[in-house]
C-alpha cells in the first residue's frame, strides 16, 4: 500500500453543480474514484491509496495531464486503486469529472 496526495491549481472551476459522484470499482487492474465538490474554485486535490508501490512518477504525470485537460477546479478526488493501468486511471478521472457536470 502506498498513499499519495497531489495538489494542483486548475485553470478554471469544474463545470456543473453536482456535489459528489462515484465511478469505477475496487478490483485488480481497476480503481474507484470518489469525487466531491468541497474545495475553493481553482483548487484541486487528488488523494490516492494504491495497491501498487513505486509508481509515484506515473501518477504525477497522469494527474498533471488530467488537470490540464479537464480543469477540475474545486474538486477533491479520493482514489482507491487496485493497480490499474495509467490509461484506465485517465478514463476514470475523465468519467468522474463528467459525472460532476450532470446531464448534458
Amino acid at each position: 500500500m502506498e498513499d499519495l496526495s497531489l495538489h494542483h491549481l486548475a485553470p478554471q472551476p469544474a463545470k456543473g453543480a453536482q456535489k459528489m459522484a462515484i465511478v469505477g470499482v475496487v478490483a485488480s487492474g481497476n480503481l474507484e474514484v470518489l469525487v466531491e465538490r468541497v474545495l475553493s474554485d481553482l483548487e484541486c486535490l487528488i488523494e490516492i491509496r494504491t495497491a501498487a508501490e513505486g509508481f509515484g512518477e506515473v501518477w504525477n504525470a497522469v494527474v498533471a495531464d488530467f488537470v490540464e485537460r479537464y480543469s477540475p477546479g474545486g474538486l477533491k478526488f479520493s482514489i482507491n486503486d487496485g493497480g490499474a493501468r495509467p490509461d484506465t486511471v485517465s478514463l476514470r478521472l475523465a468519467q468522474a469529472v463528467r459525472l460532476m457536470e450532470g446531464e448534458q
Binding site: 485537460r69 495509467p86 478514463l91 468519467q95
Partner: protein, 548 residues
C-alpha cells in the same frame, strides 16, 4: 532424342508406385506412411496443408511416421505451421527447409528451432505472396491436403473451410505434382464439388474429422472500457470521417469492440448504411449483432469459424455459399479482395516503433505474418476510385494534381497503449530488428511498414500520419498517442499540442466523445451467450466459450 515431358513421366511413375498400397485412389489410414514413402523423393517440395484454421492432421502424423532413410531433406512450403508435427518432421530430419506464412501456436518453438539451426529458413511470407510463389519458384511436388468428404472418383467437398485448398491443388496438380487428400468420410456423392477428381490422386479416410481451430471468436465479456473508448474513437474519427464502406477487420478485442458498437454507438451517430457494409472477413461471431441489425450487405471469407456454420447457411444473403448451402471460403481470393477492393484495414499489433513500423515478432516468438501485410498495404496496382481512397490520397498530397494523384488505402493500427501483462505497445526499436540481427536475416520481419500506416488509434487519441510532413512530425504524432509508455512520455509537449491544433492528433474530447459512453453497457452483446441470442440460436459456440 530430346524429351519435354520428363516431369509428367516421373509423376506417373510415382503414382504407379503409390497405387501399390491403394485400391483405386483409396488408401487405408494405416497405409498412409507407406504411400508417402512411395511418392516422396528426398528434397521434394511438399505442401502439408496447414491453413490458418483447417489442418491435415492425419497426413502430418503419416509424414512423421515415414522412414527418414527413404524420405528426407524435404522442403516444406505451407502457409501455416500450426501442429507440433509440422515441426517434429524437422527434428527427425524428414524435412530440412521451410517457407511459410503463419505460425501462431508454434511461434515459440519455431523461434527456438531457427536459433538452434534445426530449420533452414527460406522466408516468412504473407499468404498471397506464398501462394504466388507456388506458381513460380515454390511449386509443390506433393500436396497433402484436407477435405470433409470425397466420392470414389476423388471429387472433394471441403465444406465451409475451403481456405487454401484450391490454390494448393491448382499449383500442384497442373504442374506434374501429386495430390493426396485426407477426408473425414468417403461418400457416394459429395454435397458439392470443391476440387474436381482429376486433380486428386489419392484419398485417405481419417478416423476423426480434421482439426479446426476457432481463431476468430472473441468473448465480449473480456472487452475492456479502454477498448470501447478506442473503438468509439475509430468509429467516429475514421469510419465516419472517411465514409468507409468496404473494409477488413483484423482479429483482436479492439476490432471486436468496434463490431459490437456498430448497432449501438454507430446507430446513435446515424452511420447505418453509411459505413462498414462490405467486408473481406472471416465469419466473426462478434459481427452477428451488426448483421442482425441490418448493417452488413456482404462478406467474403478467407476461412470459416467453428460454430458459425448454421448461422452462415441461414444468412446466405450475406455470405458466399455453395449449392449445398454451406459457406465457400477461399483464402487467396479473399486476400486479393482485401488488397484491391477494400478501402481500409484495421487491426492490432504487438509493437509499433517511432516511424509506425509494426511487428508481432518478439525475440522469443516468430508468429509469422498471415494476411495482415496484404490487407495492411497500399495496393500500388489499384486503379478504381472511391471516396475514402481519394480523400486519404488528398490528405497525403494536398498539392498534387487531382487527376494524377494516387489514392491511399486506410491502414489503421488500433490498440491500447499497454497490452497484455502491461507490455507497452510502443517501442523505440522493434524486437524484429534484434531478431533479424541474431538470425542474420536480410530483412527484419516487419508486419506493416510505417509508410503504409495511415492512422494509429489508442485510448489517448488518433494520430493521422497522412497529415505528417516530416519524419520528425510523424514521430511526435506517434508519441502523442502513446499514452504513459516510455515512448509516450518522451514526447515534445509543445509539438504534440501543435499537431493537435492541426488535427493531426485528435483526442476523445476533440471528437465530442463522452467518456461516460465508454461503458460495457454500450456493447450490443456482452457475452457469448448474448451472441447466441442475437443469432436466434443459430450460432453454436465451441465448448471452450460456453460457461452456462
Amino acid at each position: 532424342m530430346a524429351t519435354w515431358q520428363l516431369k509428367r513421366e516421373g509423376r506417373d511413375t510415382l503414382i504407379q508406385a503409390g497405387s501399390a498400397v491403394a485400391k483405386g485412389k483409396i488408401v487405408e489410414a494405416r497405409d498412409a506412411p507407406r504411400l508417402l514413402e512411395a511418392i516422396l523423393r528426398p528434397g521434394d517440395r511438399v505442401c502439408l496443408e496447414g491453413d490458418n484454421q483447417k489442418q491435415a492432421d492425419l497426413l502430418s502424423a503419416a509424414l512423421l511416421a515415414v522412414d527418414p532413410a527413404k524420405v528426407n531433406n524435404l522442403h516444406m512450403v505451407q502457409s501455416g505451421v500450426v501442429l507440433p508435427e509440422h515441426l517434429d518432421v524437422f527434428e527427425r530430419g524428414i524435412a530440412k527447409k521451410l517457407d511459410y506464412a503463419y505460425s501462431g501456436p508454434q511461434s515459440a518453438r519455431i523461434a527456438m528451432m531457427l536459433f538452434g539451426g534445426k530449420i533452414e529458413l527460406g522466408a516468412v511470407h504473407t499468404y498471397l505472396e506464398l501462394f504466388a510463389r507456388y506458381f513460380i519458384d515454390l511449386t509443390p511436388n506433393v500436396a497433402l491436403i484436407a477435405a470433409v468428404s470425397a466420392d470414389r472418383d476423388g471429387n472433394l467437398y471441403t465444406g465451409p473451410n475451403t481456405e487454401d485448398t484450391p490454390t494448393v491443388v491448382e499449383a500442384t496438380a497442373f504442374k506434374d505434382g501429386i495430390v493426396v487428400a485426407q477426408v473425414n468420410q468417403i461418400v457416394d456423392k459429395v454435397p458439392r464439388v470443391d476440387i474436381p477428381a482429376d486433380r486428386v490422386h489419392f484419398i485417405v479416410e481419417a478416423e476423426k474429422p480434421f482439426f479446426v481451430e476457432p481463431l476468430f471468436t472473441r468473448d465480449p465479456a473480456a472487452i475492456t472500457e479502454g477498448q470501447i473508448l478506442t473503438a468509439m474513437l475509430a468509429i467516429k474519427g475514421i469510419y465516419a470521417a472517411y465514409g468507409v464502406q468496404r473494409l477488413n477487420h483484423g482479429i483482436g478485442f479492439s476490432t471486436a469492440a468496434i463490431e459490437l458498437l456498430l448497432p449501438t454507438y454507430g446507430e446513435r451517430l446515424g452511420l447505418k448504411g453509411k459505413v462498414a457494409s462490405r467486408f473481406a472477413l472471416n465469419p466473426h461471431p462478434a459481427l452477428i449483432p451488426a448483421i442482425e441489425s441490418g448493417w452488413v450487405t456482404q462478406i467474403h471469407s478467407f476461412g470459416s469459424e467453428v460454430g458459425m456454420e448454421d448461422y452462415i447457411r441461414a444468412r446466405s444473403d450475406i455470405y458466399f455459399t455453395g449449392a449445398d448451402g454451406a459457406l465457400r471460403s477461399n483464402r487467396a481470393f479473399s486476400q486479393t479482395a482485401g488488397l484491391y477492393a477494400c478501402d481500409m484495414f484495421i487491426g492490432s499489433t504487438l509493437q509499433i516503433d517511432l516511424q509506425g513500423n509494426s511487428s508481432t515478432v518478439t525475440t522469443s516468438r516468430i508468429a509469422g505474418f498471415g494476411g495482415a501485410p496484404n490487407m495492411g498495404a497500399d495496393a500500388r496496382g489499384r486503379r478504381h476510385p472511391s471516396e475514402p481512397w481519394l480523400k486519404a490520397g488528398q490528405e497525403a498530397d494536398p498539392d498534387g494534381q487531382p487527376l494524377l494523384r494516387r489514392g491511399r488505402k486506410l491502414v489503421v493500427q488500433i490498440g491500447e497503449t499497454f497490452g497484455e501483462k502491461n507490455v507497452p505497445l510502443f517501442v523505440e526499436k522493434l524486437d524484429a530488428v534484434e531478431l533479424a540481427d541474431k538470425l542474420k536475416l536480410d530483412l527484419a520481419p516487419v508486419m506493416i511498414y510505417g509508410d503504409d500506416v495511415t492512422h494509429i488509434v489508442t485510448e489517448e487519441g488518433i494520430a493521422n500520419l497522412l497529415l505528417c510532413r516530416t519524419s520528425d512530425e510523424r514521430e511526435q504524432a506517434i508519441r502523442g498517442v502513446a499514452g504513459y509508455t516510455d515512448v509516450g512520455r518522451g514526447r515534445d509537449k509543445r509539438q504534440v499540442q501543435n499537431l493537435r491544433e492541426r488535427g493531426v492528433i485528435r483526442r476523445p474530447e476533440d471528437l465530442g466523445i463522452d467518456p461516460l459512453d465508454a461503458d460495457r453497457s454500450m456493447l450490443a452483446a456482452r457475452s457469448i451467450k448474448d451472441l447466441v441470442r442475437w443469432s436466434g440460436g443459430l450460432y453454436t459456440p465451441p465448448s471452450k466459450f460456453r460457461n452456462w
